[in-house]
């Protein structure tokens, strides 16, 4: 490659440059800080840097706002190329590559992104094409760009560069072709090439496995990825299958458990039902026994009563018979008495008697009264006996009633106790419910308190964040309100200040004036920027730049120091200063740039601080947001807490600490169970009480009847019946005795009457009396008979009634029934406990619940079995096995490929080791090209240089010993680097840029290089950039050119930014 021409615009400090190069040695010289090194940068940028790369900012113009532009024309392989680049963002950045076959007319070859790729491909510097993974970013470097384009500002740049770090092998290949190494043996070369070919197919230059489609492992790697994906998918499905199967096993086990529990629940329910039925049966049996006994008692009572009634009827029957016979007798007697009366009357009629008729009559009357009274007493005695029987019956019933009442009372007590227990249990349940409610209420209140606290914390954080942001905003506003320039503006101002100072130093060479004027001459002198002052006519004055003499009557003489161009430059810089910098300082109210720079720095620091404060505030805001709870959630918590407080207000404070929710639930369950048991007991007691009450009621009715009957007897026969009976008995005895007395008296009286009268009247009276007695006896007998018959009828009716009742009662059957009932009761043991309906209902619910769970389980089992449709079973297992096998095989093949590549690498490394040991490599070839010149340069001190296969210069051999390159002096290193660069350039036939490359070389060796450069320049193009042209050029060459040496005055071809001079065309 050879450079032909270079045009630069707005490139760093260079405003414009236009340079044409010669074919051999080109020496671009000029003072420091003119931009010579920038020319090399421009060449590198044109050849290597993409136009939109961020590194272009380094080249942005210091003075103008225009984007940097470079146009480089070069020749390569017989064709002339022109690359034109404008470095800018986006579409403003442009690049074109054109070729010309005649050197004048150019045809576009590439543009935009394609330019850099084409350049890298054609130049073969070992830089990968741009774009894609691993492509270099920014300004790329390689061994050859470092060696040939002067990249890197230090010597170490070349000694630390080597071919192994290149992006591709183009540089190595170019050098290899040039140096024609490994030519000793074609078979060795073939082996190495073959090995490299196999390795390059699989690995990159940096030793990484290639992943592109051309890689031998690409297909197998893809296959492995696919198989791994399939294996994972099958594994997931197998896992899913196992999970489904495990789930089915779980469901099966759960089903077994539920079936067992259902069986247990069924048994429990059946047991409870049986217990309940047994209890009912037992109660029924007990009731049956009681009923049987009651009926038997009823039968016994009826039977006994029947006997009593029979006896009474018999007695009454006897009495009726007696009364009937008495009546008959009385009638018969009446007949007799009638007849006697009739006789007596006839007799009386026949005779009259007086005397004792009245006494007889009186005695007869008394006798009649006694007889009547006696009859009454007898009737009364009978009534008393009946009343006594009634009362005794009432007493017996009352006794039974008392017993029943006592039992009733006992049962009532039991029922009351059971109800009380139930009430206590209800109360306990209620208490427990309340406790649970209170616990829940407290939990709600606590949750609300926590939420409130959290929200308050969030609000506090948010407030802090807001304050921080406000403070930061205020501070930022204050800072931004300052009228300070930006970094680039400040940089330009600083550079301008520096240039101005330089220009002033250049221009301010100093002026000295001695005045020797006439004595009375009035003269004023103004020095530089100072105001004019009157001076003596004879005086000396000095100034740096300007001196103005105002002589009265003559005029003003202005003397200026410095060359015109320097002054012009100074003026221009001052103009720029006034235009660009002064307003800046004024706006900032600062009088110098140092202070301004300080202010800008302070502002930057303040803004950084503001940014930190803002960041902290945002972090607080995020933390606050993290703590925020949704408003509806807060409202709900508040409502729950309010409701909870209302609940707690109604409750008394607990005496002890609140138990846990689990303990409360457990207690609640225990209380509920106790309550159920108490309810059962209360129900049982209630049932027993009801039965006892019914019996008691029946007895009460019987007692009432008996009492009424007894009360009736008391009404009829008030007083003590025994006493009354005794009285009546005494009275009867008395009456009977009196009756006997009266009979004897009456007999005596009658005897007397008879004596007094003739028996007829007495007879008559007696007869009449007897007749009356007979009649009364008949009446009494009739009444007695009637009464007895009535009593008999009543007793018969009662007996019939009782008999009917008795007929309805089969005594034997009742006895048998009692025996049966009792035997049943004996055979039916009393259940160990009573079972309440609720308990059975609970057991039923539990059973139903288990049935429902079984049904749900059945549905889920079906659904899970259905999922087996989608998972694999044996088919899946086989697929998984085959996939695993295929994956194993694929990995094995990949391993074999890698193993084979490893073998090729080992072969290559072995060949290279042999190569090293026999010094057959690239570095050796290059070293040979350098060593001869090195030996001449150092007068034989250093005859050998060590360069490895990657062209890294590692050291020199001096006095038979190896010396590392780091041990060499800077001068030797720069000289060696120059020799290596020249050797590479010569081997490749390429231009080389040497930028102030011999700064520490002594004059003798400089002379050596001057000669060497001319020699090498005969074959390749060399571009030397230097501020000491004398090191490379003769005086004559400085003025003109030789056929192989071109002197380029940088001042003529290069314009720095801000300077008004036009670049001059080269001669």
């Amino acid at each position: 490659m050879r450079f032909v021409s270079l045009e630069i615009e707005s490139f760093g400090p260079i405003d414009r440059a236009c340079i044409e190069f010669g074919p051999g040695l080109n020496v671009l010289h000029g003072p420091n800080d003119l931009g010579k090194s920038t020319v090399a940068k421009a060449i590198r940028a044109a050849l290597l840097l993409p136009v939109t790369s961020s590194e272009r900012r380094e080249f942005e113009s210091w003075t103008s706002g225009k984007p940097p532009r470079v146009q480089l024309v070069f020749e390569l392989d017989g064709r002339r190329w022109r690359v034109d680049k404008t470095f800018a963002d986006g579409s403003r950045g442009t690049a074109t590559l054109a070729f010309s076959n005649d050197g004048t007319h150019f045809t576009k070859h590439e543009q935009s992104r394609g330019v850099d790729g084409a350049l890298r491909q054609m130049l073969r510097f070992g830089i990968r094409e741009p774009g894609g993974k691993g492509a270099p970013k920014g300004l790329p470097t390689s061994f050859l760009t470092t060696a040939l384009l002067g990249q890197g500002t230090s010597l170490e740049a070349l000694f630390s560069a080597d071919l192994s770090r290149d992006g591709d092998d183009a540089g190595r290949q170019a050098l290899t072709e040039a140096l024609q190494t490994l030519a000793e043996d074609p078979l060795f070369k073939q082996l190495l090439t073959e090995a490299n070919t196999h390795i390059d197919l699989a690995k990159t230059a940096t030793g990484q496995w290639r992943r592109g489609r051309e890689s031998p492992t690409f297909k197998i790697a893809e296959r492995i990825v696919e198989l791994e994906r399939l294996r994972d998918e099958l594994a997931n499905r197998a896992d899913e299958s196992e999970r489904v199967r495990s789930r089915l096993d779980e469901l099966s086990a759960r089903r077994e458990e539920l079936v067992a529990r259902r069986h247990a629940a069924d048994v429990r329910h059946a047991n409870l039902t049986a217990l309940h039925a047994a209890a009912a049966r037992w109660r029924k049996v007990a009731d049956g026994v009681y009923e049987a006994r009651a009926r038997l008692a009823e039968f016994t009572f009826a039977r006994d009563r029947q006997r009593d009634l029979d006896r009474e009827i018999e007695r009454l029957g006897h009495e009726v018979s007696a009364a009937t016979s008495s009546l008959g007798q009385a009638r018969a007697t009446r007949e007799q008495t009638r007849a006697a009366v009739a006789v007596a009357e006839r007799a009386l009629a026949e005779a009259a008697s007086a005397g004792t008729d009245a006494a007889v009559s009186t005695a007869e009357n008394r006798q009649m009264s006694v007889a009547l009274e006696l009859r009454e007493v007898v009737e009364k005695l009978t009534a008393i006996d009946a009343a006594i029987a009634i009362r005794e019956h009432a007493v017996a019933v009352e006794r039974v009633g008392i017993e029943q009442a006592a039992r009733l009372e006992q049962l009532a007590r039991r029922a009351a106790e059971a109800n009380e227990a139930l009430s206590r249990a209800d109360a306990a349940m209620l208490e427990q419910e309340r406790a649970v409610q209170c616990a829940a209420a407290r939990a709600s209140i606590a949750a609300w308190a926590r939420a409130e606290q959290t929200q308050a914390h969030a609000d506090a954080l948010r407030a802090r964040a807001r304050l921080g942001l406000e403070a930061a905003a205020a501070r930022r506003a204050l800072v931004e309100a300052r009228a300070l320039p930006g970094e680039s503006e400040l940089g330009q101002a600083l550079r301008l200040e520096s240039e101005l100072q330089i220009a002033e130093r250049v221009a301010a060479v100093g002026i000295g004036v001695r005045l020797e004027l006439l004595a009375d001459t009035q003269v004023q002198v103004a020095r530089d920027d100072h105001p004019p002052e009157r001076v003596r006519p004879v005086s000396e004055h000095r100034a740096e730049l300007d001196l103005s003499l105002a002589i009265d009557g003559v005029g003003t003489v202005v003397i200026s120091a410095g060359a015109a161009d320097a002054r012009a430059q100074l003026a221009g810089l001052r103009t720029r200063w006034a235009r660009d910098v002064v307003p800046m300082l004024r706006a900032a109210n600062i009088d110098n740039l140092d202070a301004l720079a300080q202010a800008v720095g302070d502002t930057r620091a303040e803004l950084d601080a503001v940014a930190r404060v803002e960041a902290e505030a945002h972090a607080l805001a995020r933390e606050a947001a993290a703590h925020d709870r949704p408003s509806d959630e807060l409202a709900q918590l508040a409502a729950d807490a309010a409701a909870a407080r209302a609940v707690l207000d109604e409750q008394p404070e607990p005496d002890t600490a609140m138990p846990t929710a689990a303990a409360l639930e457990q207690a609640r369950t225990a209380v509920a169970n106790s309550r159920e048991a108490a309810r059962a007991r209360a129900n049982e007691a209630g049932n027993e009480l009801a039965i006892a009450r019914a019996n008691h009621q029946r007895i009460t009715h019987d007692l009432e009847d008996a009492r009424i009957a007894a009360a009736r007897t008391r009404d009829e026969l008030p007083g003590d019946l025994a006493t009354l009976r005794a009285e009546q008995e005494d009275r009867r005895s008395a009456l009977a005795a009196e009756q006997l007395t009266l009979e004897s008296r009456l007999a005596e009286l009658r005897a007397r009457s008879d004596a007094a009268r003739a028996g007829r009247a007495t007879e008559l009276t007696r007869a009449q009396l007897s007749d009356r007695e007979a009649a009364a006896a008949i009446t009494a007998a009739e009444e007695d008979l009637l009464a007895r018959r009535e009593r008999l009828a009543a007793a018969s009716a009662r007996r019939e009634e009782n008999a009917a009742r008795l007929r309805g009662l089969d005594g034997e059957a009742l006895v048998a029934a009692v025996e049966v009932a009792e035997s049943e009761q004996r055979a039916c043991p009393q259940p160990e406990r009573t079972v309440a309906e609720e308990e059975i209902a609970l057991a039923r619910r539990q059973l139903d619940d288990l049935e429902a769970q079984l049904a749900d389980l059945g549905a889920e089992t079906q659904k899970t079995e259905g999922r087996l449709e989608q998972v694999g079973g044996d088919a899946l297992r086989r697929s998984a096995q085959e996939t695993e096998q295929a994956l194993t095989e694929a990995k094995r093949r990949e391993d074999q490929i890698r193993f084979d590549v490893e073998a090729w690498e080992l072969l290559r490394d072995t060949l290279r080791e042999v190569e090293d040991s026999q010094a057959l490599h690239l570095g050796t070839a290059l070293a040979r090209a350098v060593e001869e010149r090195l030996a001449r340069l150092t007068v034989g001190r250093y005859a050998q240089v060590e360069i490895d296969r990657d062209l890294r210069t590692t050291g020199l051999r001096a006095d038979g010993a190896a010396r590392a390159i780091d041990m060499m002096s800077s001068g030797v290193k720069e000289q060696l680097a120059t020799l290596v660069r020249l050797a590479i350039a010569e081997q490749l036939g390429s231009a080389v840029i040497l930028d102030d490359h011999l700064a520490q070389t002594d004059p003798d060796r400089v002379e050596f290089f001057r000669t060497l450069l001319r020699d090498v320049g005969e074959r390749v193009q060399i571009l030397v950039l230097t501020c000491r042209p004398g090191d490379y050029l003769t005086v004559a060459e400085l003025a003109g050119q030789t056929s192989s040496v071109r002197s380029i005055d940088a001042l003529r071809v290069l314009v720095r930014g801000g300077v008004a001079a036009e670049p001059q065309s080269p001669p």
Partner: protein
């Protein structure tokens, strides 16, 4: 009394486990394609045999496809193959198996496939499937409805009615072997035939031929007609069943496979040579190498292996070669190779590799590298 052809009331061709669409991921892409294509070719052979032997029916006991939803090209190809058979008095029964169960999304429910089947093809798509061969015989079948399960599908089979003297055939897919905790497929009790009164129980699932006779009842697995793995020792057959009312069934296997699967261990160069002399044109071959050879023999072995596997230019000796594991081919460095005539640098490299060949860690790589060197140098010395 043994049955004769005259006694035969019904002649069946019993096959199963076609696994159309099965993949062979361990093989190279081209070989896998051949293996997949062969499966349909073998089905055509089965149909041809059925026609040749004039069977009354072909029963396919499950796993016709490898997946329940095969690619369209597969089921279309099968339908096309069946349509190409001009059968008028022969029936064919397709039973869904556990690889291609009768699910809602399976090919069996795809009307495009079903309508493409000729009328003499019957898909068993219900649990009470029955087909009557006049008064002579009857077929009962129960399909698989899921890929895995524990159901006793024989529960759905009806027992022989009193007075039913017909030949009874059961068509099922499942396993007669039940291992505790491992039974994934449908279990079929071995006494199904005798217990339910079936003269012939046509089964599918096992890939190797198996015939179990029990009195008048026979239970058979024909195996897959085209092997799918190297360890299927008795695969590649179909079963011909001659069923009579008066005598026990005659059941025999009939080879049908297009490929023979063969796994060979090679321990010497001579064994390798002998293998190459065999006719392997219909063989799916897998070679286990255990060769440690001197340089010349190593090259010969490489050459023979290349012949077996073939190249882009010429086909290999084996119809299909399982990807070769070259790890079993090693260079014997105890017998130094002939380095005479090689340039010094090359010889130096060879000697370094030879020395490294004894290293326990890198020896194998070194021996392979040396084999490359020797091959290249041989090629260089033998080429003009």
């Amino acid at each position: 009394m043994t049955a004769t052809e005259d006694d035969v009331a019904i002649k069946l061709l019993h096959t199963a486990d076609w696994h159309l669409g099965a993949r062979f991921p361990a093989f190279a892409e081209a070989d896998e394609r051949r293996l997949r294509q062969q499966r349909l070719s073998t089905v055509k052979q089965v149909l041809g045999l059925a026609e040749l032997r004039r069977v009354h029916a072909v029963v396919v006991a499950g796993d016709i496809f490898d997946v329940p939803e095969p690619e369209e090209s597969w089921w279309r190809a099968l339908a096309q193959t069946l349509r190409e058979q001009a059968w008028t008095d022969r029936q064919l029964f397709l039973l869904p198996g556990n690889h291609d169960p009768l699910t809602e999304t399976s090919v069996w429910k795809d009307q495009r496939f079903r309508q493409g089947l000729p009328p003499w093809v019957h898909v068993v798509d219900r649990d009470d499937f029955v087909y009557s061969f006049g008064e002579e015989a009857v077929l009962h079948a129960v399909p698989c409805r899921r890929a895995a399960g524990q159901l006793d599908i024989t529960a759905k089979l009806p027992a022989r009615e009193p007075g039913d003297q017909r030949i009874r055939i059961a068509l099922l897919h499942g396993q007669t072997l039940s291992i505790r905790g491992f039974a994934n497929n449908f279990h079929i009790p071995e006494d199904t035939g005798t217990r339910l009164g079936f003269d012939y129980v046509a089964l599918g699932d096992t890939h190797s031929l198996s015939i179990v006779a029990s009195g008048k009842s026979t239970l058979a697995y024909p195996g897959t007609p085209e092997p799918t793995r190297f360890d299927e020792t008795a695969a590649g057959q179909v079963v011909l069943a001659l069923l009579s009312r008066r005598a026990p069934p005659i059941v025999q296997g009939q080879p049908i496979a297009g490929f023979r699967w063969r796994e060979v261990a090679i321990r010497s160069l001579e064994e390798l040579r002998a293998l190459c002399r065999d006719d392997l044109r219909q063989t799916v071959l897998r070679i286990q190498l255990a060769l440690r050879l001197a340089a010349d023999d190593y090259r010969q072995a490489e050459h023979l292996l290349s012949e077996l596997s073939g190249s882009d230019v010429e086909p290999g000796r084996a119809a299909v070669l399982f990807p070769l594991d070259r790890e079993g081919l090693d260079l014997d460095t105890d017998a130094p190779p002939d380095l005479e005539g090689l340039p010094e640098s090359v010889r130096a490299a060879a000697e370094r590799l030879l020395a490294l060949g004894q290293d326990p860690v890198r020896g194998q790589v070194a021996r392979r590298a040396l084999s490359h060197l020797l091959q290249l140098t041989k090629d260089a010395r033998t080429s003009p």
